[in-house]
Amino acid sequence: MSMFGFGGVNQGPTSAQKIAAAEAELEMVTDMFNRLTHSCFKKCVPREYREPDLNKGESVCLDRCVAKFFEVNVKVSEQMQNQAATRQGGTPGTGGMFGM
């Protein structure tokens, strides 16, 4: 249940921690689904909406679009894990560095 190797929730977490982690993962998957449907609908379904059903082209496009979104998600995750290793430490541009 650990994400990007962060946060060692494996040493006997409490119920609350396990449920919080499960909820965080559900949030992540739901957010990904919302973004994917938004992007793929925009790329695959023209806005003229000529008929109420999805035509052949739109359906095939949506199927492939979902697959490619997953592929991009994996590529970006790998790229950032390699870079995080070389930068040894937090990712730039996060809250901590606003001179606070």
Binding site: E25, V29, P52, D53, L62
Partner: protein, 92 residues
């Protein structure tokens, strides 16, 4: 969710249901705004003309069907990811 006891599963189920209600509201509000933006552009009157009404109805249909289809593909990809052990840390 692997690793949860029966009691934890039940509690998590409650969380999921509350979240689904909110997701449904969010999806509904997005749909209204998306179809309004795509279909309604003539403000010479304050009620919809026939073309706009048809567009709204088809926009809603296309979205619900498209969203359902993408949901199925998404579940398949997600399941494959979990078996295949792909490095998508977040989704396991």
């Amino acid at each position: 969710m692997d690793g949860l006891t029966a009691a934890e599963q039940r509690e998590f189920q409650g969380v999921v249901e509350k979240r689904q209600m909110r997701e449904f509201m969010q999806m509904y509000s997005n749909l209204v705004q998306r179809c309004f933006d795509d279909c309604v552009n003539d403000f010479t009157s304050k009620t919809m003309n026939a073309k706009e009404e048809g567009c709204i109805s088809k926009c809603v249909d296309k979205w619900l069907k498209g969203s359902e289809r993408m949901g199925q593909r998404f579940a398949e990809q997600n399941a494959a990811m979990m078996q295949g052990g792909g490095p998508l840390g977040g989704a396991r």
